[in-house]
């Protein structure tokens, strides 16, 4: 499964949810969906804006974890 490490990156960059939402032009509610891992998909445009605002790579935000691995 794909884990969203957005909160980790936000903590590293010391940026609040509202500030980031405003910077990348999405609603705080949608950012919350992303942060809590409830999102089913993420648009390339959103990912691009997130990476731009947080000055990081997509891999810093998204992480693949093998479900079958115990």
């Amino acid at each position: 499964m794909i884990i969203v490490n957005l909160d980790v990156m936000m903590a590293k960059r010391k940026i609040s949810s509202n500030e980031l939402a405003e910077k990348i032009d999405i609603t705080p509610a949608n950012l919350s969906i992303l942060k809590t891992g409830k999102a089913k998909a993420i648009r390339f445009s959103t990912l691009e804006r997130l990476c731009g605002a947080l000055k990081c790579q997509p891999g810093d935000i998204l992480e693949f974890v093998d479900d079958e691995e115990d």
Binding site: I26, N30, L31, I33, K38, A39, K40, A41, I42, T46
Partner: protein, 147 residues
């Protein structure tokens, strides 16, 4: 000018008319069956026909309530929600139950098999519509959770 709202309103009016029709038929069933027996000139049909009709009243009322709620949801912009899938499933079960109830009567009067077939066919169509709605709900959810 004919529009979506007027179309829903017309459907709601038709459902309300059906409510009245079902209730009136349920109350007047003994008299209607007696009249049918006299006109058709048949004997021994009173009890089985009355029992069959009375057994069909609960699924008919449930189906009308489901239609009413479904129309209310559509009117309020909630067409593709999980509740509507459940309502369509209930509607199809109501049709199947009417078909099952009429099987007994169709043994006594083979023409009643038309009702069995029609109710079963409606139930099948509703199941297909339910499957479409289920797919649409999944697509809407995916769309809503695409950021």
């Amino acid at each position: 000018m004919w529009n979506k709202d007027k179309s829903i309103l017309l459907s709601q009016i038709l459902v309300k008319i059906c409510y009245v029709f079902v209730i009136v038929c349920a109350i007047a069933a003994p008299w209607l069956v007696e009249l049918y027996e006299k006109r058709a000139g048949t004997d021994g049909l009173y009890t089985p026909l009355l029992a069959t009709l009375m057994c069909c009243v609960p699924p008919a009322v449930i189906a009308l309530v489901c239609l009413d709620v479904l129309l209310w949801n559509i009117q309020h912009g909630k067409a593709f929600v999980e509740l509507n899938v459940k309502l369509l499933r209930s509607l199809s079960f109501c049709c199947f139950s009417v078909a099952a109830i009429f099987i007994y009567f169709s043994i006594l009067r083979p023409f009643a098999f038309v009702i069995v077939f029609a109710a079963g066919f409606f139930g099948m169509i509703l199941r297909v519509v339910k499957n479409c709605f289920q797919q649409a709900v999944a697509m809407r959810e995916e769309n809503d959770f695409t950021i």
